[in-house]
């Protein structure tokens, strides 16, 4: 086999292994879906009235919210990548892989790809949940598909960050929190739940340039969902070129973290 086909074949085999793992652990899917559904309900009905304001509460806010929840959920799924690697390290499975004549890159790409299976399942469940509370796709089918792909691309990029974190954490216990902790600033200092224009000072600048904001805004556009009436429209280059910026930053994240994670994998010691 040439080296390129070996990389592809190895990646396929590792992806298969990780997908079987998800399939044999339906409780992971349960955890990955129940949590975001609770978020939808919490934001839609508990915070929604206050955030949406007198002019824009209720339905309009719920429609604004869904793209944010989608993006946040798949972003949080990168913690499964972190824990997956930490587990494989602890159980000696990474040692086994490293002693085999296989592609180093395949071990990581097989994991980051398989973890998107989880994201796809969760997005289906969340879409049904969104439809139930009044969210609708207002644009074309093509745009809607592109919207989902945008979210998945961003999730895939974050999964590479997760791979790197998983390979540098010293234990599964640390991986549990290390995988989640950076998710809170990343997903909340953004346009996922509130208009980014409403944030004060430096937080607004961060939110404007946060790739997560771009992914949310681009998806919202592609779904044809608009801000509640009376809300300021996001402005500035990242907001006006949300899709482009989201794609560029996703590729940049992969370009940085794929070599980092692969280099780390080559040297990683078992625990």
């Amino acid at each position: 086999m040439t080296s390129m086909t070996k990389v592809l074949s190895d990646s396929g085999v590792i992806t298969w292994r990780n997908v079987v793992n998800v399939r044999r652990n339906p409780e992971w899917l349960l955890g990955a879906t129940v949590f975001p559904i609770m978020f939808v309900l919490l934001f839609a009905y508990v915070f929604g009235g206050a955030i949406g304001g007198p002019g824009g509460g209720g339905l309009a806010y719920r429609e604004f919210l869904i793209a944010g929840i989608f993006a946040q959920t798949v972003a949080f799924n990168s913690s499964y990548t972190v824990i997956g690697f930490a587990n494989d390290l602890q159980k000696g499975i990474i040692d086994r892989f490293r002693s085999l004549p296989m592609s180093r890159f395949a071990v990581i790409v097989g994991r980051t790809t398989a973890d998107q299976v989880l994201s796809v399942v969760v997005l289906v469940v969340l879409s049904v949940c969104g439809l139930a509370i009044g969210w609708r796709i207002r644009g074309s089918v093509v745009d809607a598909v592109l919207g989902y792909l945008m979210i998945l691309l961003f999730a895939f990029a974050l999964s590479w960050v997760g791979a790197y974190i998983g390979l540098i954490t010293p234990s599964v216990e640390v991986a549990n929190s290390a995988g989640l902790i950076w998710m809170f600033p990343l997903t909340f200092i953004s346009s996922a739940f509130v208009p980014q224009e409403s944030l004060p000072g430096v937080l607004r600048t961060i939110a404007d340039w946060n790739p997560f904001t771009a992914a949310v805004n681009a998806t919202r556009d592609l779904f044809g969902n608009v801000s509640p009436p009376g809300w300021p429209e996001p402005s500035g280059w990242p907001a006006e070129n949300a899709a482009l910026y989201a794609i560029i930053s996703s590729i940049a994240i992969i370009a940085i973290f794929a070599p980092l994670a692969t280099a780390r994998y080559r040297r990683v010691a078992s625990k």
Binding site: M1, K6, S9, D10, V13, W16, R17, V20, N21, R24, N25, K91, G92, I93, D95, R96, F97, R98, S99, L100, P101, M102, A269, S270
Partner: protein, 323 residues
């Protein structure tokens, strides 16, 4: 195994590895002739696993060189990986996969085609008596079954060199004996095996030669028999029928043995170090019989490898190395 030169499957010279300020390996040399089993023996923290990790390309040495199946671990790690099978200290089994899926995964990663991978996996499952549990997730396997599955994984690629890092640590006695039988079968197929162990009994049973390491250094090497002889050879032990016969027995043993006999009056037992083994035993019995001494019990006691370790390092194998 045509890629080995001059019949040496594994050769390491001057391996040094530091972890921070700790010197884990301090110039380890090893050589395993093709088709032989080398037992790498030492207590916890002696450097066994570090040596294994270097030889299996998981770790780069700070200095020194090593060749496995004719491939240099530093310049041709993929060549090494194609020729070896590693079964680690902790069974590297994916417990969500079935036994079959675990082996199929490894077979595919060795580059086998689907049909071949399937055939090879089933074959190994049968050989390791895992065929009944083959299609159940490994989660439900016993410790011994997991180890066997892990060892099967190491053999999927029909490697010329098999590395077993503490294959029986943590197994119950039954699991240990089962594992030994499996390893003996493996040896019978002509594979070269590097086996690390803290159990001297295990090295004695499985290894053609033994390298004892302690604190990152090789402190002794040879066949298990040579090592035992090094630590004082065999003891001849006799129990006589009555206390009056003890002085006579002592005199005879003093003539035959290579040292001063010691006596235990209460047990009417005399023993002495001997160089000539069974010959000395026969000679002692013949002379005592000629003098009508009643010998109730007689035997040759070889030192265990535990005695060897104690005489080499001044401490037992169970004691931790102070760090």
């Amino acid at each position: 195994m045509s890629d080995t030169d001059k019949g040496v499957a594994v050769r390491a010279r001057g391996l040094v590895k530091n972890y921070g300020m700790t010197r884990a390996l301090d110039g380890v040399d090893l050589e395993i002739p093709t088709g032989q089993v080398l037992g790498l023996l030492g207590p916890n923290g002696a450097g066994k696993t570090t040596t294994v990790r270097i030889l299996t390309t998981l770790l780069r040495p700070d200095s020194g060189e090593a060749e496995v199946a004719g491939h240099d671990v530093l310049t041709d790690p993929d060549g090494v990986r194609r020729s070896i099978g590693l079964s680690g200290q902790y069974a590297a089994v994916d417990e969500n996969l079935t036994g079959f899926e675990n082996l199929y995964l490894v077979a595919r990663l060795y580059g086998q085609r689907k049909a071949q991978a399937r055939r090879r996996s089933r074959e190994l499952l049968a050989r390791f008596r895992l065929d009944e549990a083959a299609d159940r997730p490994a989660k439900g396997y016993s410790g011994g079954m997991r180890r066997r599955l892990d060892l099967a994984g190491a053999l999927v690629g029909s490697p010329s060199v098999v590395v077993l890092d503490e294959p029986t640590t943590g197994l119950d006695p039954r699991g240990r004996i089962e594992m030994w039988e499996v390893i003996e079968q493996l040896v019978a197929t002509g594979a070269t095996v590097l086996l690390t162990t803290q159990y001297l009994e295990e090295a004695d049973r499985l290894a053609d030669s033994v390298v004892v390491i302690d604190r990152g250094k090789v402190i002794a090497e040879g066949t298990p028999d040579e090592l035992k002889n090094q630590s004082g050879g065999e003891r001849l032990e006799l129990v006589v029928g009555s206390a009056e016969e003890l002085p006579l027995a002592m005199r005879v043993l003093g003539e035959i043995g290579s040292g001063e006999p010691t006596v235990d009056g209460r047990a009417r037992r005399v023993d002495v170090l001997v160089d000539t083994g069974t010959k000395a035993l026969v000679e002692a019995l013949r002379r005592l019989d000629a003098q009508n001494v009643v010998v109730q019990d007689a035997g040759l006691h070889r030192p265990t490898l535990d005695d060897v370790f104690l005489s080499l390092t001044g401490r037992g194998t169970g004691e931790e190395v102070p760090s």
